[in-house]
Each structure stands twice: as C-alpha cells, then as structure tokens.
C-alpha cells in the first residue's frame, strides 16, 4: 500500500462496539489504515454452560442450549435432542420428525435474514437490515403461535416436542412462504448486485479451501470456499434424506472463490433451498401422530458417550455427551461452529484495511453466545 511507514497503532475494537456481533474484543495492530494483525479476545460472554450442565438433569439442559446460539435456538435444541436420542436409541414418530424439520428450516431462514441484514449494516446499507427484520418478524410470529416464545423456545424435547402444532399453522406457513419468496429477489436486486456493495466485498478476505478445512470452518463459510459439504446431505440425521434440495457452493461470482461476497451469496441461496425443503415437508406432514408418544419417563442413558453433529445455520454444531448412567450428564461439550469460524480471522484479515476487517467479521456471521458459551 505504499512505502512510507509511520508508527504502528494498537487499536481495540470492542468490547462495546456497534459492529461486533456481541461482546468481542479485537485487538488490531495497524499502520495507518492497513491492518497487520488481528487478535480476538473472547470470554466476555462466558456463562459456564458446560459446568452448569454437569449439575442439572438432561431435560433441564435444553433451555441452556437455547441460550448458547440465541439467534438459532431451534437448531441448538435439535442437535442436542438428536445426540441424546442416538445415545438412548429412541425412535420418534413421523409427525415429530416432520415438525422438527419444519421448525429447523424456518429457524435457518430467520437466522440468515438477521446475519445478512447485520452484514449489510456493517457495510453501510441501512435499509436492507430493516426489510429483513420485518420478514423475520413473521417467522417469529409463527414460532410464537406454536410454543409461546419468540427467541428462546425450549421446544424440542428428548423423544418428542413440547407443544403440538396449533390449528392454522400450516396455512399460515404457506402464506408466509408465498409472501417471502419474491422478497428474496427484491433483496438480491437491492444489495447483492449493487456496484458499491460488490466493490466492498468481492475479493476481500479470501478463505482458501484447505485453510478452511484445517481451521475447522464449516457450514456456509466452508461452502463459499468451494467445498460441497452439507451435513443434511452427506451425513443425514432425522428425515433429511427424503427431501430434495441443492447445496449452493461459492463459485467466485463477482471475484475469487471464498471471498466475502461468496459467503454472502451462499446464504441468500440457502434461504431459497430452505423454502424448497419447507414446502416438501409441509406437504408430507402426517395429520395423525402424538408428539408426546416417545417421551421417556426418566432420562437415564446407558453408560457411554456419543458425538453427533447437526447442521445449524452457522455450520456444524456438535454435541459430545458422556453419560455415567445417572440422570445428570457427566460431561457435555458443545462444539460450536462460530468458535471455529472466528479462529480463522487472523489468517484472512491481515493485510486489509480497517473497514475490510469489519466486513470480514460480518461475513463470518458469528454469534458470541455460541463462542463463549
């Protein structure tokens, strides 16, 4: 960027800052505007989730999992419940499986809307953020209709669900899908192909594929770097293997493969795929079925351990559960996708300008609750 070097300035972005998605401190070493090193400091939101889980029963863990990634609570619950049912060998009935998939996909759309809107806000586009929040409100209304909560649901229980679907849910969801599909195209026109936005994000923060795998990056971030890997297709759990949907992969549409624009665009395309899955799941939803049918009387898993991964909107969410035969977990570890996504920031943000560092941070779509637990 030039041969003149002044003094290096050490700058703290955060912990209180409008652009970091939560309480995160980034210590940035800059020379003028060019950043030479980015060091994240975590732990401001550490709430001792894993230690708590060693003191409460298995059912009581579920509200705790909600609060880890508070923007995608349904998929957190889903991951835990799938792991526990694998450990205890419980099979749930068809209606429960379909409802779980419907809720998880709606949650995926809601989380992507917020992540994309916040990214636009960091770049300086104020309007798409508000449009996306307006659409997200409709999804939260659907959730509120079902279980009474807008953000932290405690909905999926080991062996079933907490509430059955209310009357009129299926019609409301169909109405929402019909309303929402054209909005994605409107949004694509407004922001995705906007020249200024493309200038800000294309070729910025390239994440090569092998670096991504070595850093454990997963989910849309990995798919944007060109690796076609989605747990719903490559390691299916629940009934995902019955639905037909594509996996969008970053192809360097407006720059190189794996830049911020790709990470952004992959999420937009994923929302469309989620709509496809939702339509299929809604049409094959069985009308009969008791959601409390397979709830065990007491959750006492056999002695052993399991590691199970599911696909959350941010990547692969893994639960490592070790049980010692009682009704309290012996050890529960949550492997969060945002933790691994944040670890890669030093690698890809060094050498860019200060505004780019914030753009890269926004494109990784992290949630501090999940990183710090």
């Amino acid at each position: 960027m030039g041969v003149v070097h002044g003094e290096e300035m050490v700058l703290n972005i955060g912990p209180q800052h409008p652009a970091t998605h939560g309480v995160l401190r980034l210590q940035v070493r800059t020379d003028g505007e060019v950043v030479s090193e980015v060091t994240p400091y975590l732990g401001y939101l550490h709430r001792c989730f894993e230690k708590h889980c060693e003191n409460v029963t298995y059912e009581q863990v579920i509200p705790f999992t909600d609060r880890c990634d508070y923007l995608a609570s349904m998929t957190n619950n889903f991951g835990y419940v799938v792991a526990m049912e694998g450990l205890m060998d419980i099979k749930v009935n068809e209606r429960v499986e379909h409802i779980r998939v419907i809720m998880a996909e709606l949650q995926r759309i809601a989380s992507h809307l917020l992540g994309l809107g916040a990214f636009g806000l960091d770049i300086g586009a104020f309007t798409p953020f508000l449009h996306m929040l307006r659409d997200r409100e409709r999804i939260l209304d659907l959730f509120e209709m079902t279980c009474g909560a807008r953000l932290l649901y405690n909905y999926m229980w080991v062996g079933g669900l907490s509430h059955d679907l209310p009357v009129g849910f299926v019609e409301s969801t169909y109405r929402f899908l019909d309303y929402f599909e054209p909005k994605i195209d409107e949004f694509v026109k407004l922001l995705v192909h906007n020249k200024i936005f493309v200038e800000r994000t294309a070729d910025v923060g390239r994440l090569p594929q092998d670096v991504a795998i070595s850093y454990g990056v997963s989910g849309p971030n990995l798919r944007a770097s060109g690796q076609k890997w989605d747990l719903r297709k490559d390691d299916p759990y629940s009934i995902y293997d019955r639905f037909e949907f594509d996996i969008p992969v970053g192809e360097g549409g407006k720059g190189s493969v794996g830049d911020c624009w790709d990470r952004f665009y992959v999420r937009v395309l994923e929302m469309k795929e989620s709509i496809k899955i939702l339509r299929q799941a809604l049409s094959s939803l069985p009308k009969e079925g008791d959601v409390y049918q397979s709830l065990p009387k007491k959750i006492r898993p056999p002695i052993g351990s399991i590691y199970k991964r599911t696909e959350s909107p941010r990547g692969d969410l893994g639960y490592y559960i070790e049980s010692d035969g009682t009704n309290i977990p012996y050890r529960l570890k949550m492997r969060s996708p945002a933790f691994t996504a944040l670890s890669v920031i030093d690698e890809i943000a060094a050498g860019w300008l200060l505004s780019d560092v914030l753009a890269i941070l926004g494109s990784l779509d992290i949630v501090l609750g999940e990183i710090d637990r």
């Binding site: 409008p18 960091d122 300086g124 586009a125 309007t127 922001l191 780019d356 914030l358």
Partner: protein, 357 residues
Amino acid sequence: MTVDFIFDFLNQFFTSLAGNEFLLLVAILLPCVVLFGFITIYALVVIYTELKVSSFIQDKVGPMGQGVGIHAGKWGLLQPIADALKLLSKEDIIPSSANRPLFVLAPFMIFVGAFISFVALPFGDSIIIADLNIGIFYILGIGSLAVISLILAGWSSNNKWSLYGGMRSAAQIVSYEIPAGISLITVIMLAGTLNMQDIIIYQQGGIFNWILFDNPFIPVAFVIYFISALAETNRTPFDLPESESELVAGFVTEYSGMRYAFFFLSEYANMFVVSAVAATGFLGGWQSPFPNALNSPGWGVFWMMGKTFFLIFIMIWIRWTVPRLRVDQLMNVCWKVFLPIGLVNIFGVAIWTVLFG
C-alpha cells in the same frame, strides 16, 4: 439587494440619523438575525423530513403521535423540537485528557463556516444579503473552513477513533473540492461571471434556458458536482468519517449535548448551501420554469426553495439506499474518475460553445 433596501428604509425612517454608520450596522445585522432564524427553522424541517423519508424507505413508521392538536394522528410534527430540547438538556462532558480550548472551539468554527456561506446565497430577485461579485468563488472557498474544524475535533478529543475520523474526513473534503470546483467552472464559463445573481439572470426565459439544458456536457458536470457535494457534506455513500457502524461515531465520538448539536446542524446547513449552489448554477435559481408566468419576487423565493429542497430530498434518498464506500475507493473515484472527466468536460463545453454558440 437586501442590505441596501433596509438601509434606505431606515434612512427614511430615522431621518435625523440618516447616513450614519450605526444605521448601516443595523441594516447588516437585521438580515443576519433573520437568516439565523431561518437556519433554525430549516434545520427542524429537514430533520423531520429525513426521519419521515427514511421511515418510508425502510418500511417503518417514523415519528408519530406528537403533534399540536393531532396527538394520536399520523404526523409527529413536534419530534424535531423534542430532539432539540433533549440535546440542549444533556450533560456537557469534556474528556479530562482532551485539549480543552480546541475541543470547545471546533463546533463553533464549523458552524461559523456554514453560516457565513449563507450570506451569499440568492433567495429571490433582490433578496440576498451580500451580493458579492465573486459569489460562487467565495462559497467554494468558505467550504474549506470545515476541514480545519474537523481535524481539530478529531485530534483534540484524544481518542484514536476520533483521530481516524478526522483524518479521513480531511482527506475526503480536500480531495472532493477539486471536482466540485471544476464542474462549476463550466457554469462560470457559460454565464461569464462569478456573481450569483448574474448567473441566475443569464438563465432567464423558462426551463430550456437553464444552464442544465444548454449543452450535452453540462448534465455530466451536474452529476459530478452533486456527487462531490455529497462527499463534502460527509453524507452516505461518503460518510466514512462518521460511519456509525465502524468508528462508533467517528470524529464526534466524544461530543455530547449542544456541541454535538452544532456538528449536526452544520452538516444540514452545508447540505442546504451546496444544494442552493447547484440550483443556482444549473437549475436557474429563482427563475420560474415557465417563461412568462409565476415570476413575481414572491414566486421567486418559492422556486428557489423548491429546487433546493428537491435536491436535498435526493440526498436523503441516496443516503438510505446505498452502502458506503471504503476510504481508498473514495479516493480512487475522486482522483482517477471525476478529475479526468471534469477536465474533459471543460474542453467539451468550450468547444461546443464556440462551434454552436
């Protein structure tokens, strides 16, 4: 001109003091006080407009419910007054490690810079406080005063974020003055004078006599001037110095209460000044678009205000639609795109005028 008019009026009135310098002083200060009142009311109006226009664009409701006699209605007309009262009543915090004299000086300087450009703006046929014969040149020159005050604000806050904001802002304003000036040169070449009222009189005779439609190169100059004006007033897409999501609040991070209000006010005042200059130079000022109708002095004020507010509305519209540019892209656009096009423009206008009159 206004000052002459008032001086003559006072001369007739106070015949005993006729010709005295005291009357001259009153004749000068009176319009300035009126102008100050005008700026205050204008600020309230434009803040309300920005809130309402942004809420229409963003599909939200905006200010509502506070209005004299329209309490539960759809207009929140008292919102800007409430904002102003809130800012007045806030605690005045000066950081202990800040450079006190400069910290206090910066908001005043920037407001003074905006205010003294107002005295040269033509509001109507003979309604102008200082009819300088270097009108446009004077306004362009005063615009640079903002740079010093922004650097002062950024540096004296003793805060790395403010420093960043101040530096970026200085670079941006200084660079974008050049394309703005070059675009205005085309106007000056056609009108043949730097005097604001003479430029407007040159454009009399209806909409097709306006400089904008004179020459195919002029619309290009207009676009360049408008975008450079956006950059000079630190509006999105060039609002990097005060970008909310990156630098907290840029160079105004440490300012609170009335001092912050001054920065705020002067940004809106600057918007008015550059829109008025664009309206004068390109859109015919207080000339009515119909050749022979609606051109009394009262209508003149209406046309001038209308054109200026239309350009301000476009500025607000652009702010809420478009993301912001990065610093080096900003500089790129200025030096590598606008400057060459502006220079080519000057040649184009000159050659066209010579060939086609």
